[in-house]
Amino acid sequence: MTDAVATRDALRIVGQPVVRHDARDKVVAATAYAADWALPGMLHAAVLRSPYPSARIVRLETKRATATARPTRQRGSSGSKRNGLRRWPASLSS
């Protein structure tokens, strides 16, 4: 028993509280999440689902979506390129 405790105490990880290796970056918000990335020419996508359960999709009307969702790049004052559209109507490539 005491041997087991001694063994455990000598272990580096098992039985010891360990500081998460990513915690420091996260408390200063230095971690980049998916939504924090902006790359040149980045594509944005939105998913449009049918509002009707079990309905058959016969046709997709994409005219309005493609007219609105044409990528328009905009330069923020930080110099980062972001897609100028923020609230997309769901767009599907036809």
């Binding site: 990513d22 915690a23 970056d25 408390v27 200063v28 004052s77 923020r86």
Partner: protein, 156 residues
């Protein structure tokens, strides 16, 4: 139109749309990503910033209405490159998992402790009820705040 604000101590004047929120101004226009976007409808507390010292959901504040008010984001807490003792407490007590709620948690906590420097556990939980965390179950976050309040990490 022009939004005027003092951002982390620095006066800024920025061209904004009339319907642009403070969150959109910070992230999309200024590229300040230490403010996170969660629900975008004032429910989750992820986008919390301090507005004249009070925690607000920046997704509900219109940028054009700021009129020179002081906005503090997480980066505004930096002290000569070191961690704020509350940030240190979050790290030590495992209060950070995915980390998405962390900036809002920290800012809400600090604003709360300004008003109530020695809260008990119940009061801490109540103060943080507007900040949702889907990882920790809150226990370790409250542990971290308690440890900071007790001054375990050289605070005060």
């Amino acid at each position: 139109m022009i939004a005027r604000l003092v951002l982390n101590g620095r006066p800024r004047e920025v061209e904004v749309r009339p319907n642009q929120t403070l969150l959109e101004l910070l992230r999309d226009t200024l590229g300040i990503f230490d403010v996170k976007e969660g629900c975008d409808e004032g429910v989750c507390g992820v986008c919390t910033v301090l507005l004249d010292g009070r925690p607000v959901s920046s997704c509900l504040v219109l940028a054009a209405g700021l009129r020179g008010r002081a906005v503090v984001t997480l980066r505004g807490l930096e002290r000569n490159g070191g961690l704020h003792p509350l940030q240190e407490a979050f790290v030590r007590h495992g209060a950070v998992q995915c980390g998405f709620c962390t900036p809002g948690m920290l800012l809400t906590t600090l604003a709360f402790l300004e008003r109530e420097p020695r809260p008990d556990r119940e009061a801490i939980r109540a103060a943080l009820e507007g900040n949702l965390c889907r990882c920790t179950g809150y226990t370790k976050i409250v542990d971290a705040v308690e440890a900071y309040v007790r001054g375990e990490l050289g605070h005060d």
